[in-house]
């Protein structure tokens, strides 16, 4: 029951956060002077194409862009009726992309799932790499294992993501025959999910996952190592050793459990970094996630498209954090009962 109450509380907090974030995003999107349609209208006027002007003007009223900003926001979110009644984000209407001249939901539809997929894969990669390496580095601290992993980790932190992507792509293709660009073979695009398609997607995901995950894995590994080293210095470890417990069993049974908590809690800081990385890497590698859409939309001031993508990215991280919080509450009773220390 306690856990349920905690879950409900966290869920409501998340919704409130999302609302605040949506205000922020809408404000940021509207920062640049002018918008896509007024730019277009000006351009059309300058070249003397009056028919286009009429269409743009129609779109302007259709999407309520001629109203004050706060009203636009409410309509966009679906809190207030627009020209066609309530049709905003919470009603599932994502708006119209002026750049692509199609509804936003059409454009980003498939990309959403791939975005989630890439990020989940990256998170799994981080955990799969960071856990064994971190434990190993702590257990064999000050040996070559420790130093090598620290060195590789630092290098992973310091190399810009996008360059790592390009370089790995180049060498992966040259020596391992890994495919270049995209998230699947072009012939599978728009096809229903099948075994072959699945395989193609998996092969295409190797390098992106590696690139997005490296810096996160490096940071995570170092933190796990530090936590574990702190634990290893404590008297109970000495006791266990003195009683003749085998090193591996001792490690897994006691210090690792304690050091594991921050490991799960860290997902809150890990996730935003992952999503950031995936946007950048997607642009460089041409993955069909929402990253490239975000960039084009931002560059051409395509209001609804960029706002939606930003909202989605924010929601993705918030949901991920929520899940990790719940997991943590299941793992560690102190969090459930103690509430948040403020």
């Amino acid at each position: 029951m306690v856990i349920l109450r905690f879950a409900v509380f966290r869920f409501i907090t998340m919704l409130a956060t999302l609302v605040v974030v949506s205000v922020m995003i809408f404000a940021i999107i509207n920062l640049p002077p002018g918008d896509y349609l007024s730019n277009q209208i000006n351009e059309l006027r300058a070249t003397g194409q009056s028919s286009g002007v009429a269409k743009a003007e129609f779109l302007r009223t259709e999407y309520a862009l001629d109203r004050p900003l706060w009203n636009q926001y409410l309509i966009w979110m679906g809190f207030a009726p627009g020209p066609h009644g309530f049709s905003g984000l919470i009603q599932g209407e994502f708006g119209w992309s002026f750049e692509f001249d199609r509804p936003v939901s059409d454009i980003v539809g498939g990309a959403l799932w791939l975005t989630v997929l890439v990020n989940v894969a990256a998170i799994l990669f981080v955990y799969m790499v960071a856990l064994p390496l971190g434990v190993l580095a702590a257990a064999r601290s000050k040996t070559w294992i420790d130093y090598t992993s620290a060195f590789v980790g630092y290098l992973g932190l310091a190399t810009p993501n996008f360059l790592l992507a390009l370089i790995l792509f180049y060498y992966g293709n040259r020596y391992l025959d890994l495919p270049i660009g995209g998230l699947m073979d072009p012939k599978f695009e728009g096809e229903p999910m099948s075994y072959e398609k699945m395989k193609s997607v998996l092969v295409h995901m190797i390098i992106p996952t590696f690139v997005i995950g490296t810096s996160g894995a490096a940071a995570m590994m170092q933190r796990l190592r530090a936590n574990l080293l702190d634990e290893l210095g404590k008297p109970y470890v000495e006791t266990a050793r003195a009683k003749g417990m085998s090193e591996t069993r001792m490690l897994v049974k006691y210090p690792l459990r304690v050091a594991f908590n921050p490991f799960v809690a860290d997902i809150g800081t890990l996730l935003p970094a992952m999503v950031s990385g995936s946007v950048l890497v997607s642009v460089v590698l041409g993955l069909q996630t929402i990253g490239p859409f975000l960039l084009t939309a931002l560059k051409s001031q395509d209001l609804f498209l960029s706002a939606f993508v930003l909202m989605f990215v924010a929601a993705l991280t918030l949901v991920g954090t929520l899940i990790s919080d719940l997991l943590l509450a299941l793992l560690d009773p102190r969090i459930r009962f103690g509430g948040r220390s403020t």
Binding site: I28, P33, Y154, F162, A273, V284, S306
Partner: protein
């Protein structure tokens, strides 16, 4: 041995001064910065990194002097010229540092430029020579360069880019922006972080609640998409200097929550201390208590952690410029240069266009090690 009237015994041999005491207590009498320095010195990697950073930053104003060319000087006959080596011995004879002149030829099969070195005529390098004009430290006009190629030859240590500009010179010029963007950004983030963090920690209550929620929200959002959105809002007609400042402010504006949180938690624990109570009772205003009594307690520690967030900003600037939303063309930064190396083709055919990534990696690593060393040295609870 003498006996005192009250019956105690006292050794009558002359008292020997403890010669080692002064040396042993020397550490106790040292000023704080000296102690920090002593501890920092032990961190070898941090020390080397610190030196490297110092040299890099000192070099910035003299970039124009050290580099053989200016940032946007073009050599139209040497597009995508490959890197040239500096040699000392020509046919077994020492003739001092020289380069072989190279001439371009189009390979019509691969459609790329190919360069052949003229191995017969070594061109001796000139030192303190006159080249094109630049501004030393931004205001002294000069045309002296440390080294340049003689008439008819070129010196492209790291090759040339697609417009025939020297990559080596551009890296030096690019450092001016790439290295300072982090400093400006961290200043912004530092100011916001300290002000908001101390308000939240000192006053508590509703203000604390608000600031805390803002911190949580900002920390839970991915930085890069927001950076992108903010920099897309920078008007395209702004000059390079304003773009530079606004980009660094954008980088700093999302970075402060971590710092503010650290400040706040320190304040929460420190504000219950007696010395704060005493200062308040003597009538000190909150701003004075914060500035004079609370902040100095952990300012140095904050600076160390700020050092650790500079690399994130340098990488952020690189990423933004790389995507074309950060600094723009006439300005030179490492990210702008890497914009050229955006596709696989250029990495395959002209790998030297990706060289600017090396200074990025070095600087980011150096900041990490330096920050680690500084933090260890400043941490009073260190084992």
């Amino acid at each position: 041995m003498t006996t005192l009237p009250d019956g105690r015994y006292v050794d009558s041999t002359p008292y020997e001064p403890d010669t080692g005491a002064e040396a042993r207590n020397a550490e106790l009498d040292m000023p704080n910065w000296m102690l920090v320095w002593l501890r920092f010195k032990e961190h070898r990697l941090g020390l080397i990194s610190g030196l490297f950073l110092l040299i890099s930053y000192v070099m910035l104003p003299f970039a124009g002097f050290i580099s053989p060319y200016t940032a946007n000087e073009r050599a139209p006959d040497h597009l995508y010229a490959s890197p040239q080596g500096i040699h000392l011995f020509h046919e077994g004879k020492l003739i001092g540092p020289y380069v072989y002149p190279i001439t371009a030829e189009v390979n019509l099969e691969t459609f790329s430029w190919e360069y052949t070195a003229d191995l017969e005529n070594p061109a001796k390098l000139e030192f303190f020579c006159e080249g094109s004009y630049y501004k030393l430290a931004g205001f002294i006009k000069s045309n002296r360069h440390l080294v340049c190629a003689p008439e008819g030859a070129t010196i492209f240590l790291f090759g040339a880019d697609r417009l025939g500009r020297d990559v080596f010179s551009r890296i030096l010029y690019g450092a001016q922006l790439s290295l300072t963007v982090g400093l400006v950004g961290i200043t912004v983030s530092f100011l916001i972080g300290i002000v908001l963090g101390s308000i939240a920690g000192y006053y508590g209550g509703f203000l604390d609640w608000i600031i805390n929620r803002v911190i949580e929200i900002l920390r839970s959002l991915p930085e890069l998409p927001l950076w992108l959105a903010l920099s897309a809002a920078v008007p395209s007609h702004w000059g390079p200097v304003s773009v530079f400042f606004i980009i660094s402010i954008i980088l700093g504006i999302l970075d402060w929550p971590g710092l503010a949180r650290a400040v706040r938690s320190k304040f929460l624990s420190l504000r219950e201390e007696e010395f704060v109570r005493a200062a308040e009772m003597m009538g000190a205003k909150p701003s004075r208590v914060i500035r004079k009594h609370l902040l100095p307690n952990f300012l140095s520690h904050l600076i160390a952690s700020a050092t650790l967030s500079i690399p994130a900003m340098i990488l952020g600037e690189t990423a933004l410029s790389f995507l074309g939303l950060g600094l723009r063309a006439p300005a030179v930064s490492w990210g702008v240069m890497l914009n050229d190396a955006q596709n696989l083709a250029s990495i395959e055919i002209y790998p030297w266009t990706a060289i600017p990534m090396l200074p990025i990696v070095f600087v980011v690593l150096a900041f990490n090690f330096f920050g680690d060393g500084l933090r260890d040295a400043l941490d009073p609870n260190r084992a």
